[in-house]
Symmetry: C2
Subunit: 455 residues, 2 copies
């Protein structure tokens, strides 16, 4: 084992939890394109967003000027239940890989939701409560976001309806059970409780649903009920903002030991995890102070950054949600059933899309799921944590970079986001272990079909 220069796990003190989120857009010279009203195709206004989202979230969504935004005391109190999260030095993995690289990972899976999603769930639930909202709706695919929001709503005493992609709710009854334990109502989507759901059911009888479809239902349910709002767990600007706690804590922890990443790696589904992890490091780059290398990793089955188009698109299937300019496979693209449900989304945060388009995120790469589970199994063995399939995309890239260092002899410092745990993904691990797992790679024709639905 290498000489130990930092602890295996760096725990910040409670008073080192960030007091402010960092708003990446404030430091971007080229801002992301504005959100458009789907009806008028003009930039959407605060007033137009207020019926859909909580007021504070709308203001954060549109805020391009304030670099730092205070975290309210009530949210900080909630964060204290599970933050600061540990930054871990992967000594054992480094030894197994015989690499001179120094590998760090920020572990966000140490709470019951099993992922980083709780960072935004806590914020959005509190803002709803503050505004007097008594009910929220959302969608969930793999179930991490739904679980996180269930926890936050249970804690703050808000009713919650979760539209869960039907095929996921059937494959993962235990995820549903966790949400119900925290008091949420879980509705398999498409359902007959919304017009959007009924239309999808009538057009596609027997469909297992999709995230885009569940979003349509959750949005419609929120808009048609009194004192109710919709919340989303990724993609949106204010979600990326909330997730900046991941990066801010990581940077503080590394600075304590004189460390700074040469490479920052995150898996990218909707983009909130990578956006949050890289935020303060990207700030350094935007200000010309440091120049780390940023890598986004996405599943080969849903390659929005690597094979998508940079275009205006809806976030949902039914076309109810505002239009955002982003890398997208088209809101009608139905990704194949990859096991990393949290990365199975056709679009990408407009912030990350802009940064990638402008070359500020250096690289996006894909990984096939069998190679991802190989990396996950290796990581579990040497680091003792069973990762979520989503997180394992970042592990795969970190391992590859560390192996490159072994070959070149460079002792690079690698930081990646370990977003969550895989306790509810054992069916996927069983599939990998039994050799039954296959890689899904969409053909060019599959992609063209998705692009055909673009505006």
């Amino acid at each position: 084992m290498k000489e130990q220069t930092v602890p295996y796990k760096i725990h910040l003190a409670e008073n080192e939890i960030p007091r402010r989120w960092y708003n990446l857009r404030a430091d971007m010279k080229e801002k992301p394109e504005p959100i458009l009203n789907p009806a008028t195709k003009k930039p959407i206004t605060r007033e137009e967003l207020l019926p859909l989202f909580c007021e504070e979230c709308v203001d954060q969504e549109l805020n391009e000027t304030d670099p730092f935004i205070d975290i309210p005391a009530e949210i900080l109190d909630f964060y204290k239940m599970y933050r600061p999260s540990p930054l871990v030095r992967a000594y054992c993995l480094e030894e197994a890989l015989e690499t001179p690289a120094k590998i760090y990972y920020k572990f966000e899976g140490g709470n019951t939701s099993g992922s980083h999603k709780l960072n935004s769930a806590a914020a959005q639930a509190w803002y709803a409560k503050k505004q007097g909202i008594t009910r929220l709706t959302t969608e969930t695919g793999a179930g991490q976001w739904g679980t996180a929001l269930s926890m936050a709503c249970g804690y703050f005493g808000i009713d919650l309806d979760v539209y869960m992609v039907k095929v996921s709710s059937e494959q993962k009854p235990y995820r549903k059970a966790v949400m119900e334990t925290f008091g949420a109502r879980v509705i398999p989507s498409p359902s007959d409780t919304t017009a959007a759901g009924r239309k999808i059911l009538s057009d596609n009888p027997g469909t297992g649903g999709s995230l885009g479809c569940a979003i349509s239902e959750a949005v419609e349910a929120a808009m048609s009920a009194g004192n109710c709002r919709y919340v989303l767990g990724s993609v949106l600007n204010h979600v990326v903002l909330h997730q900046s706690v991941i990066g801010l804590e990581s940077k503080t922890a590394m600075e304590k030991y004189g460390e700074y990443p040469d490479i920052v790696i995150g898996c990218a589904g909707g983009g909130s995890n990578l956006g949050g992890l890289m935020a303060p490091f990207m700030r350094d780059r935007l200000r010309g102070e440091r120049n780390p290398y940023f890598i986004a990793v996405e599943p080969a089955s849903c390659p929005s950054l690597t094979r998508g188009r940079y275009a205006y698109d809806h976030g949902d299937t039914a076309g109810i949600t505002p239009l955002m300019k982003m890398y997208t496979l088209g809101s009608r693209f139905i990704p194949s059933p990859n096991h990393a449900g949290g990365l199975r989304y056709h679009g990408m945060s407009s912030i990350l899309s802009k940064l990638y388009h402008d070359g500020l995120i250096d690289e996006a790469r894909t990984a096939g799921q069998t190679s991802v589970f190989e990396a996950a199994t290796l990581f579990a063995k040497y680091e003792g944590t069973l990762p979520a399939p989503e997180s394992a995309h970042a592990i795969k890239a970190a391992v590859d970079e560390a192996v490159k260092c072994r070959e070149t002899g460079e002792a690079k410092t690698i930081l990646f986001g370990l977003t969550g745990t895989g306790y509810f993904d054992m069916a996927a691990y069983m599939s990998y272990k039994s050799g039954q797992m296959t890689d899904y790679i969409p053909t060019d024709e599959d992609l063209e079909a998705g692009f055909a639905g673009l505006l």
Copy 2:
């Protein structure tokens, strides 16, 4: 919320992980009764134990004199992967209960095995490796111990056969998948791979197995193979020794803030968790320095301390294992299918049994599983961690004590062990949530049938 006097989570530094385990027996004036050889009924010798257990474990098992035993560097390195574990001040639960009590819990579930079991698994796997043992056998019921040992064996490169109670392996395929991910071989018990298994299968066709039966098989498999040993995850003296890290860290963390528990609460199955948690506090009592009140909580369905006999008994069904004097329901007692599989064991650590017999553990109480899941659900909502059903027995007692404080106005300091998480117990949560859960309480006749098998 009460004024915050300590952090929500107290994280010790890595160099505060205990360097030595504490051996409770060294300070007991009245020692536990000796272990007997089942053939001769005479105190068992070191030599007689060596074919069964690793050498270092045998020495620890028989050591009644050394109060502190050094933790080898290799085990400390393993501990650094997931220790120190946090000591949590349950501010949110206190507020929900409106209690003046101060509630602390030591959370041992933050590793992939999901429980405290890893503390002894790491030690036993390392001692095996050190001795040149290449294969280990064990049994598992709920799966926490099997998972912990799979992790430790995967890390140290030792082959592992886990005899998993058949009904558990069928109910919990995902637990099995986790163990296999870490490289273990999982054999549903009873199996046709051992004489003990074949006999049980022939006597009870269609049986779902039991922990006692799985122990018989694992012991036989270890004894009949070369360079192989058997390891057990609870009950034994050396396991209680390894678990003392729980209590030692808890005491150090509390001392930092001038705190000391008035009440120490642990769930008790085989006894290693409660034994480990209370160890340094019991030391204070044995030395006449402090006088905390100790409570053991067991399931109403398997009440070894509260309704068992203090007698010599086997640890397994087939009667292969050494005899220990302990509170027991009889090794032939088959507990009803309570959801807290980790507490479904007929006997109890001989150390804890002796302490309870001598009045040094003040109280043992039972809890029915519906009340336990009620406490678990409350805890999840306010503390954000979904507890294992086993751990929830301690939660139930802690909540009851805190409610008593509300009634008397006393601000007692309560410490309990939150041994693990319930991510693999969602079927049980679903049963509770749906109102299908029933309490199993053995009748006096059930118990007499178990006692009839005692020596």
